[in-house]
Symmetry: D2
Subunit: 380 residues, 4 copies
């Protein structure tokens, strides 16, 4: 048997890989950073063998509560990602499996590669509705792109500027699956909510804020070791060009609605985190937040507003965070969207848990929510 991770998004620290019944690994830290939670690796030569794999240092990772009720993601064909029954004893995470294939891939969540990312951009630009716009380059020198989606035939003095960004934290791959579903539906001319929205809005979508961290197999940081979602107040071109470049575009183009797509390690539900702690928070913004949350809950039972982060205290919001920064700066509705690494416990799926397919559907259904929020934004 053999374990490898030298591929897009791969990362693990192998301790012992000579006995299928006692495979030992450590979860590795991000490049240039102490965060550690993401893993993605391939195990070879284990056909029809009872395997026991232990993540030795699970209790020393960044989000230990993430392992409670968590099941490891796995695939043998690299298309379908299912869950393996997994145990966390408070210290180690252990997964047992037996596959009738020679190899299996394990990951913290279904990976989303840079190749797939480039395919998504290339797919989107086929649409007359879509403009593919280069924002510049990442720390490692990768292309950094934004899609602008707009119906050019709609002549409107003032279109609302809607922004969606994803994968500030690169290991939160569910975020780009979400964007894939969102884009496929937004560009689908048979989708009435999309067609309705394009009568009023211009969309700016950054499907991957952190291509370097994604390729490197990081959970939270870019190539320079920066947690991008703490860089919004003072980004710079050395340490956080990805935030710098997007912020620059926002200031040039304006923002009326902002969604920043994430994954949460601990909470087994989908939820949003807003701007209640911002200095400028007020009744208008609260009304917009409530409208959007109600609209999304109506559109998708995968959304809820019960299990979520504690509210920030008034005025104590951390403005280094993208959502807070944008909400404050543009005085607009701004939300961090959080999806689970685990499952949605309201509608659990034992076999797949929270999955790429469900992320995509969730990203499709948010279009309905936005469409029902836009009239309120216009009047608010």
């Amino acid at each position: 048997m053999k374990i490898s991770s030298h591929f897009d998004g791969g990362r693990i620290a192998v301790v012992k890989a000579d006995d299928v019944s006692d495979i030992q690994v450590n979860i590795d830290h991000d490049s240039n950073s102490e965060f550690r939670q993401w893993f993605h690796f391939r195990i070879q030569g284990i056909k029809n063998q009872d395997c026991v794999l232990t993540f030795l240092n699970a209790s020393e990772t960044s989000y230990v509560e993430g392992w409670k009720d968590y099941d490891v993601c796995a695939s043998t064909d690299r298309q379908e990602w299912f869950r393996l029954p997994t145990e966390f004893d408070g210290k180690k995470l252990t997964v047992e499996f037996n596959t009738d294939t020679d190899d299996i891939y394990l990951a913290y969540f279904a990976p989303y590669s840079f190749e797939r990312h480039l395919n998504l951009l290339a797919f989107a630009q086929q649409s007359d509705l879509c403009e593919l716009h280069s924002l510049g380059e990442t720390v490692d020198g990768r292309d950094f792109d934004m899609l602008i989606i707009e119906d050019q035939e709609v002549d409107l003095a003032e279109k609302l500027n809607v922004w969606m960004i994803a994968r500030q934290h690169p290991g939160e791959t569910m975020a780009e699956w979400f964007v894939e579903g969102f884009l496929e539906s937004l560009l689908d001319q048979d989708n009435p909510s999309s067609r309705s929205l394009l009568q009023h809005c211009r969309f700016h979508v950054v499907p991957n804020m952190n291509p370097d961290g994604s390729y490197r197999g990081n959970l939270r940081t870019n190539a320079a070791g920066a947690n991008l979602n703490r860089e919004w107040q003072e980004p710079n071109m050395d340490r956080s060009p990805e935030v710098y470049l997007v912020r620059e575009q926002m200031h040039a183009r304006g923002v009326d609605l902002f969604l920043d797509i994430h994954g949460d390690e601990a909470i087994p539900y989908n939820f949003v985190a807003g701007c209640e702690g911002n200095p400028n928070y007020n009744e208008r913004l609260k009304h917009l937040e409530d409208t959007f949350k109600a609209a999304w809950a109506a559109a998708s039972p995968d959304f809820q507003d019960v299990y979520k982060y504690d509210d920030d205290e008034p005025g104590k919001g951390d403005l280094r965070i993208g959502t807070n920064y944008v909400g404050q700066t543009f005085n607009c509705l701004a939300y961090t969207v959080e999806m689970p690494f685990k499952d949605n416990h309201d509608l659990p799926d034992e076999h797949y848990g929270w999955s790429p397919e469900r992320c995509k559907k969730f990203g499709e259904d948010v279009i309905i929510a936005i469409n029902n929020t836009v009239p309120v934004i216009k009047n608010a």
Copy 2:
């Protein structure tokens, strides 16, 4: 050149077919009935020729207002149905076209064959959630089927019984396209609204109430010449077994929500027609109707409640009609769903008009509306 219609759902009366620049046809009446509106035929041998085709008797059909702003549906590959620019001068309907293929099919709306119908049933029965149930036979002796969709693992004393039927009027093919979209989504385990609904409901779906009329190329009647949607009060096994058999099942199984899927010839919008004229109509039912309409409008901009039929006067509802009969008998929410033959003028699509793809999406989105109505039904 040549015109033919000897195939599933084919129907036209050829007057003159020897000159592509002056093709003349009459719209034929239903078998054993005077209704006339449906057409579906194949024109052969017209490659790269400027064709002019006239429906001579358009002003003598059942729904003359149906031709205003109507564009003929066409296909050369029998998969993609697009619209041909069409003129109605108050008397004749004229369509001009030039195709780079030898043949073209024209139809009142994209056809839905009995083969596709059987494929839909066969697809559905692959799901663990679905039971395929024979209701009996049609007048012509065709299989007449119902799908029962239920999560057997949900143990609930009293599940709500939701019913959906389609194509009482067989030429309203959009109804079965709608059901196809509905079924594919309801059986999709990644659709949260479907999963949520199956926690509370048992679905009974009759995808085609009128397989004989469908095959024969009728607009409104079955093989015996009956307009099934006027047979609900006194159906019988000779003239309207299709209604008789479904009604029987309803009485045995109960009804909490009923949707009867139709197409409307004249109105270029999607809408519903309810039970306001029923003797038992009351505040509870009105509340359910309003809830459902609001929920659907929220889920889909293709639904609206402005352009629609005039309300029945109180107590004057025609109880021979399925929706009225079921609403009255089971004291439940019951709606006729109407889709356009033309287009949805709120979100017009010049190239496709109202199309199979949009029907399917509309049938998918109604799941959200039902899911948001069910709690109100339970509490009402």
Copy 3:
């Protein structure tokens, strides 16, 4: 439980259908004819039950030897057709099965509907290489079509005229599956043998010689009760218009190579039957036959020349048969292609037997054989 056959190609005579453990049927005769062998029916309401079905009159059908080593074809999704273990005791044919679906379809061979036939024509006409040509009408008034496939940019004084016809015997559905594979590959611009052939040949393809018999669920005859493959010497527009119309085109256009695609009930191999009994048979024709057979055997191990019909005695060929008539009349290479209802015993597949997929591949590989025969025809 219930048995039905009122659909395209359906046919069975039900004797007893009230007990899954003792279902009894008779194989029905063709319309207006005594041939009896084809069956295609749907059994409903048998989920998870041990079914035993007996064809009572198997020993009284047209090809009793067809039941030896034969396994019934079945499908629950109408897409994938597999085999059910079947016993023939010399008198009755018995099949046992248990399916986890409510319904199952059984057939003598995987059906090929008129809808699929029309789809195939519509698919083919999308290609610039293909002209869709109406031949006229069948006895029942159905469209009767020919595809002419030619590279119009190849300017050649004298292209070879290759003809392929299929389903003279409508229950030999493998013939149209074969043609589907043939057409998809012939129109595939990435297939070098197809591109090479179109430098030299013009193809005339009649995918279904007998649409009426196909729809009616006949094994061998058309709507008038004629065995078309005995009508080639004196066809007439009343009894055998299908042969009359094709023969007419052949005389107008010429024939250099003729393939008539069939299925054989008894022999579990693929083989051809040629013109050795024709008055004009000679060394040139024998050389062409040998060339073609060797080329096909080289291209496909599914072809062989060991198990086949006995040769006709010299001069004793029945010229009422299409292959003999065409070979004699046009002094050309002409073959009847026979595929098994059972399996190819050289490469047996227990689960699928001879299948639509294998028919299609066989029809694809014949293109290689034709391509390697054409130079010899040109020089012979």
Copy 4:
């Protein structure tokens, strides 16, 4: 506008990229090597603009004759690769284009990424016929894999060992497209040639001999700068572990037939290069070569034996080359397969040239050729 190449297989040296009408680039050399011919890059921000791009140093690349009659490969969706009209003036290569998309990708030939490579392995291992076997690691530490394809139910004392390797020269991406077509067909149970072959043979397939060079965007060398196809006589684990590891397996398992898949820069035809220069070359080997070539020519008009490399003189074969080494060492039929970067001039395709689809079909058709050669190998 902007040019980038920081992605799998990307490589170009930008000289001037500020004016779409005068874009200037140089073809870059391989990492750690002087070979230069491969390019793959993305041009952004050029929608609807008349672009002129010049490869300044075309006359200084490794295969200058490669630019004669060559057209650049391009894609806007990263799926379909078409050709752009290209001029070579003996010094510079110039391509003009105008795309209605924002971005376009240009490449020497349609790329084949490491992600797709891993997907191919993962696809193959789903088959019961296939074992996925780790060979070890590349210089850069990537997984290096072999597929063993064998019907375990065939119990044969001595199966023939067939080997296929591809992409020793990583920029010859057509080689892996060929292998993809080969594998899909070999694992297709409906393919009679594949089923026949698996009665006699065990296949060893290395789809990518040079994953590092592939990812790095090299034409000919691995990460250590080695031209692997000159390493077969004395490979070592530092400089050419990829050859070392495969050679080791060959010695352990034996070789009866060897195919090494390549692309040729200059010759616009498909052809093979064999072992006529080997010390051990003899009549038996010549007979095997002739048999194989004739079989392939019969199976595919894309194969020919007219335009090809000059024969080696007797005894002068370079045994550092894989084909020669294996042919000599195992005294077996061994061929280098060469496909064009340009087109097959026997069957030219102006729009696509030689393409991934045609590579795949070519790799499918070689199965027929092998199947017709195996009996001769067994008897030779």
